[in-house]
Structure formats: structure tokens, C-alpha cells
Amino acid sequence: MNEVKTTAKTNFKWVGKRTRRPDGPDKVTGRARYGDDMVMSGMLYGKTLRSPHAHAKILSIDTSKAEALKGVKAVVTHKDIPDHPLLEPPYGPMIADLHDISRNVMAREKVLYDGHAVAAVAATSERIAKAAIKLIEVEYEILPHVLDPLAAAQPGAPILHEHQFTHGVDPKPEAPSNVFRVVSAERGDLEKGFADADIIVEREFRSEPVHQGYIEPQALIATASEDGAVEIWTTTQGHFVIRGLCARLMNMDMSSIRVTASEIGGGFGGKNNVYAEPVAIRLSQKTSRPVRMVMTRSEVFRGTGPASGTYSRIRMGAMRDGTIVAAEAEIYNQAGAFKGSPVGRSVDSFFSSYSIANAKATAYDVCVNRPKVAAYRAPGAPMATMAAELTINELAEKLDIDPVDLRMKNAVQDGGQSLNGAKYGRIGLTEVLETVKNHPHYSAPLAPNQGRGFALGYWMHGGGLSSVVANLLDDGTVAIATGNPDIGGSRSSMRVMAAEELGVDLELIKPIVADTGSMGYSHLTAGSRTTFATGMAVINSVREIIEKLRALAAKKWEIPVDDVAWEAGQAVTQRDGFEALTLKQLAGMATKMGGAIAGHSEINAGGAGAAFSAQIVDVEVDPETGFVSLKRYTVIQDAGRAISPDYVEGQMQGGAVQGIGWALNEEYIYDDKGCLQNLGFLDYRMPVASDVPMIDTVIVEVPNPNHPYGVRGVGEPPLVPAPGAVANAVENAIGKKMGSLPLSPPKILGTLELCR
């Protein structure tokens, strides 16, 4: 069952309606072109040679035999990718260090994980390219490796980067370390807080890395022309970001690279980065031919970013009346081969749903011999959240207080702050918790061997840079171009907002995703920012068109523009004797009366604000096998305002199911040499249709005052509490605490048998 609970204005023409998406027909007929659906004339096929070792020095690379193979047109190694100096502090929350990126796209001194790219070829067929990489001879000196973040943080662990000294600790360390940095945030007086507590719960948790699991592997074509211009067609969450990274990495002018985003077959944060793009540019430069590079599924697992595996410890104390008075946590995030796990977000995620007077959270960014982590839907949040939420549920149990009541008592209010110090404006937390409490699922009876779980998730959204161009055409239709790849239906929301502003039919608006040569910078389709930030730029652009249309009508009528209003898709005036001019009529006049009409907007949107998602889950655990089946699932989330409720629900449902996979099945399995063993979807087990029930949703609408329609981000919050909610349900079903994901049948059976 899906409902929308709203407290605000609802008399919209299009906002909040269930409408078909503009890109729909192409996607149900196979016409839509994704990364790997493009061919170019004269195209060559690129293939990457990858490291078979977890950690090794590269002694030599001999490419001569590959180069001699008939049909091979070029071979590249790290020598073809420019080197860059290490990034200097201060470090921001997001690290893009060209020194590391150049080494991640092509290993230089060492290989740092199984699957690390070592060389690449371009050949006249895929078949020849595959044969050619086998002819490249690489001499390695194998080094000891480390996979576990806690082990990697200990003195004496194999060191990945001799130049890396832990940042953010005092005194400055003298020995290199796999810990790149330690970040923390705190408020109040922890010691006093714990002294005041009547009850203290302490727990620890481990989790495995999980892959974003997009169904479309990375795929691209790069074409370099003799005059230095480069065109790239790629599946990405941000083609402007790809342009910037490629230009900086390859020492090129940004304007000489033009990137077109293909349709994208899922990303979830995993397509925010460059992998083969710079390599393909180089191969194309060497051959003057387009070069296509497509990853296989096993390359996706071995070479692209998972989310961090983690180890965390947590301690929370409460008074008998339920006031949480102290909370302390630390988490070790696997960064993979290069620094940059989402430590800041982990710190912020533990306790920011609550106003706890004394709290501290610390996160360690730890390099290990695994692929470099990439963002994954609310990066850094789900595991920190799981630790805090399960601990709070245990406090509730011990205090004999209902878990939702306990949260109500401690919930952060409008005007409060996250642990990192971000100020909340109007938030919908109380409304979300009240909805949970009153939801029939929360009090429905359970059968034997069943358990109910509950968890709350918080996420602070990003706004950021977005650009939009809107062109009014002669016939009164409007072409809206944004710079944001559409992963989950954003063109639909853009169209709805434009039609709402103009007061015209949806069909008159044609939204597209334009290439980097067409418009101003637009940041990634990530951070749940697109409907909020890019949507605002759409609204601005359309409002500019409306202003111009009012002026045009004023000119036509020979009256002051202030006397012209825009209502329901037409220019009107209170003055007598003038008949309203429709959008279509005005559009037809424009070119004859001064020129084409367009609007554009380039913004840095702030005020995206926080959103909260709460989830109730029922599971049944088979005591004989340890198998967990999902019985019922409800996601309750503040969306601010759902522009397209179908797609908001889709985000809530999809996020929840990713969380189910994280909690129950998904994990990387390495052998003792540090090589990844489960390289496909058969052994990396993501949820399938028969694993899950319908995912019920309640969209709570507490409009965001910083957006014209009240939009908040919706993509990330639903994953945040999901693994914790599922784990909590399993705990309640078996009556035992579980400390390590995934909660696979052998693990559950092991716990049950220990207790028998």
C-alpha cells in the first residue's frame, strides 16, 4: 500500500500527480541508448589487463608481443597517463587527488588490489583485444597484503603507501600508516554524560563491503581528433565531472573535451568517477580512431568501487526516563586502495537524529588492498546508523520503553543541529515518527519465529551547482535542457515543474540531458540533489521565459509590463479590451517581434536540508536452516514534496531492497592471496523478486521552505536505516544480538546453535 500524507498546499496542476515519464517509450522498446549501445565508424575495441595480485611491486611491463599482434593498434601503460603530485592539506570532505586517480586508472609503482588496471590495448576487434592483453608480460614482486580495516590500522600491517602519514592525529606520526585520516566531532562532556546515565549499552559491529550493483557495467567511447579535441560518450552520473577530471588528469584544456552522457543503467554513486575514460582518450590519441571500452561484470566487481566494509564500536547511556545523555562511537571505514572513504558522513550519521547533550563520533579512513571505494547511496551512513539504531533499540528494551517513544523523546527538533554542526531548518522528523506509531504495521501481530525491526535514518542533502537552458519554440513547445543524467526519472520531474510554472500541458515540455558543450556546469546526479537543485534551475529558467512573455504581451498591447500577469498558461491583463494571449500565440510572435525566447539559470543551490526515513520490517527466521524471509516492509519518509510520487516511492522501495541485500546476503569473498572469488551475480547475491515482499510506502510531506515547491532529496534516505531495520528484525526473531553483516544463514544458524 502506498500513501501520501501531506500538510501543505495541494492545488497543483501537475506537481504530485502520477504521470507517465517522457523517456518511457524509448526504455520499454529497447530504443534508449545506454553506454554500450553506441557505435562509431572506425571504432576500435579497448581491453584492460588487470592485476592478478592483491599487492605487488611492478618490476617491468613488456608490451612488445601484444603490439606485434595483427589488429592491435595501440597499447598503453602508466607511462601514457601523466603523473601528478600528492594533494596537500587541508583536505575537504570529498577528496579527488589526481596523484591517486592517475594510479587508480593505471597502476604505476605498485598494484594495490586484485583487478587493478595495469595496461590496456586497442584492437580492431574485441577478440583480438582479449588475445592481446594476454601477451603483455608483467613482472611482479609480490608483497604482503591486508584486507581488514582494523588489521590494516595496526602498527606492523603491510603498508600500501609509504608516503602516507595519518592526518588529524597529534603528535604527527613518524611512521607511515594505512590510516589516512581520523576525523571526529563532539559536543558536551562525555564523561559527565556517562556518569549521569542509569543504563549503558555497548556494542560492536562488522560489515563487509557491498557493491552498488548497477546492472549496466561501465561503458564508453572516446574519440580524439588530430586538432586535440576529444569527445566522450559514457555512462556516468556526471558528465561535467568526467570532463573536469579527464582534463586535469590528462593536462588538457577543459574546453577541448566534450562529454555526452548516455542513458545510464543505474549508478547509486558508483558512476561518479573516472575509470577507463582517461585510458580510452590516450588509446584514441595514439590511433586517431574512436575507442570503445566496456567492462565485463567481473571487471566491475574487481575494479570499481564498493561501499566500505566497516568495524565499529559504540556506547550509549540513558537515564531511566529515557533521556539519552551520552553517546560515543567510532568506525573504521575501508577506503580500499586509496584514501577517501566517507568518514565525515559516517561521523555525522551516528547520532544526528537525536539531540544528545554529550556525544562524540570518530571515523578512520583506512587503506586496504581492495578496489578504491566509491560513493554508494548515502555514503558513510548505513553502517554508522545501524550501530546507533540497534543500540538505541537495546536501550529501549532495557528501559522498557517503546522504541518509537524513546526516539520521540530524544528526537532533534527544528533549529537543532547535526553532530557535524549542520543546522536544521524545518524538518519532518516528528511527523515521520508519529506516522510510524500510528501505522497499522507497527502494532500488527507476529507469528512464531517472526520478529519486527525498526530503525530511523537521517541524511543531510547536498544542493550544489546546476545549470539549465529552456528554449521556447515557435509553436509554443518548450525544450528544457539540463546537465544532469537521468537515472531514475528526473526528466519527468523537470517536466512537471516546468509545466506547473508555465501553467500548460505536460506534453508541451520536452526535457533532455544536454552535453557538456551546451551549457553551464552541472554537478553529479548524486546526493539526492537533482530534483531539488536542478529543479530549481528549471523553475528559474521557466520564470525567465514568463518574464519575457509578459514583456512581449505588453509590447503587443502597448501597455506597461506591470499590467500584464501570467495565469494558467497565458498573458492576461485587468485592463479592458484585451483578450488573453496564449503561450502558443506569443511563441509565434516572438521571432517577429525581437527574437527567440529562452531562459537559463546557473545556480549553486543551498538549503537542501535534512530528511528522515523510518522503516518497519517483519522477518521470519527458519530455526532449522537460519534462512531469513521477509514478511512485511514499510518505509515512511519525509519527501518535502513529492513532485512525482511514483518515482519517490520507487526510490523508497529500491533503497529498502538494497538495504535488505546489504543486511542479509551481499559480501565480497576473498581467498588467502587477497583475490576476489565471487565475481558475478551468482555468488554476489543481490535480492531478486522472490526474496522480497511488496514494499509499502508512506510519503510524509513536510515541505522544505528552501525550494519553491518544498522538495527534499529522496534517493538516499531510504537506504540509511534499511540494514539496521532488517538486522533488528532478525535479532528480535531469534532473541539474540547479532554483530556482523551479512546475516547469512550459516551465521544465524551458528548463533542459534551456540545457544542451543
Binding site: R127, T296, G654, V657, G680, M686, V688
Partner: protein, 160 residues
């Protein structure tokens, strides 16, 4: 290596192609015939993105060799609609917002079509098991299952 000459019917048209012994139907469709509606999510039979219908049965195109298909009748997503009229399943996928990124959609549509041909009145559970070989990472399956159930109901009505 020599190539095999294969004659098939694809979406009602006679189509000839040549292929190597180890070339899959998926490669033939995507690389040689430029029919890219059939998607490649894994190439190993684990995701269902490449589901097509061969001689009335749904198969993973990445697990079938092109050379085996002489005389076969192949249906792909490109042939699902009739002229400009979308198939009821395609319509219902749009109405129920059963796709986000859409990369899994052609495979789901073919698998669902094959299911409804065999079982015009499936239960929710039957739909879920029939689609269990098709991965979708975006939707959580809820809206896909609803779309298939709704399409089944509509197709039953229009044939009764």
C-alpha cells in the same frame, strides 16, 4: 576460425547472419545486427537483462550460441510492440512506473510476456518466482510485480 551461416526469423523478419562457433546470441544481436535493445548486464546468465524469446521459450541470450539457431524464431524487445501500439505489458510498465534506469526493463518485459503466455492468471508469488532470474537494482521489484499483474488482468479482459 571459420564462421557459420545461420538463417533465423527475428521479430517476424528473415535475418541471416554469420558467426563464430563461440559467439553468443547476445553478441550477434548487439554487435553484428546492431539490435541493442537486448541488454548485457553480466554475460554469464545471472541477471536476465538479455532475456529474449527463442521458439516460444524465454532464454538468456548470453547463454545461447548463435550457431545453434539455424531455423529458430527469435523475439526481442524491438519486436514487442505492434507498429506504433505498445504491448499491454509495455503500457503497464509505464503506468506503474515499473522502471527507473530502465536497463533491466527489456529483459523483464520478455520474461513477463513468456510467463503470461503460459499462465495468464498468475498470483503475486508466481510472478515473483517467474521473474526471479531477472535482476533489478533500482525498483525493489514492487512496481514491476504490480505492472505484470495489472497487464495480466487487462490481457485476460481483452481476450474474454
Amino acid at each position: 576460425m571459420s564462421k557459420y551461416h545461420v538463417t533465423t526469423t527475428i521479430n517476424g523478419d528473415e535475418v541471416d547472419f554469420t558467426c563464430y562457433a563461440d559467439q553468443t546470441l547476445l553478441e550477434v544481436l548487439r554487435e553484428d545486427l546492431n539490435m541493442t535493445g537486448t541488454k548485457n548486464g553480466c554475460g554469464s546468465g545471472d541477471c536476465g537483462a538479455c532475456t529474449v524469446i527463442v521458439n516460444g521459450r524465454p532464454v538468456n541470450a548470453c547463454l545461447v550460441l548463435g550457431a545453434e539457431l539455424d531455423g529458430a524464431n527469435i523475439e526481442t524487445i524491438e519486436g514487442m510492440s505492434t507498429g506504433t501500439e505498445l504491448h499491454p505489458l509495455q503500457q503497464k510498465f509505464l503506468d506503474h512506473a515499473a522502471l527507473q534506469c530502465g536497463i533491466c526493463t527489456p529483459g523483464f518485459l520478455n520474461m513477463a510476456k513468456a510467463l503470461l503466455e503460459k499462465n495468464p492468471e498468475p498470483t503475486e508469488t508466481e510472478v515473483r518466482y517467474a521473474l526471479a532470474g531477472n535482476l533489478c537494482r533500482c525498483t525493489g521489484y514492487d512496481k514491476i510485480v504490480r505492472a505484470v499483474l495489472d497487464a495480466a488482468a487487462e490481457m485476460r479482459e481483452s481476450t474474454s
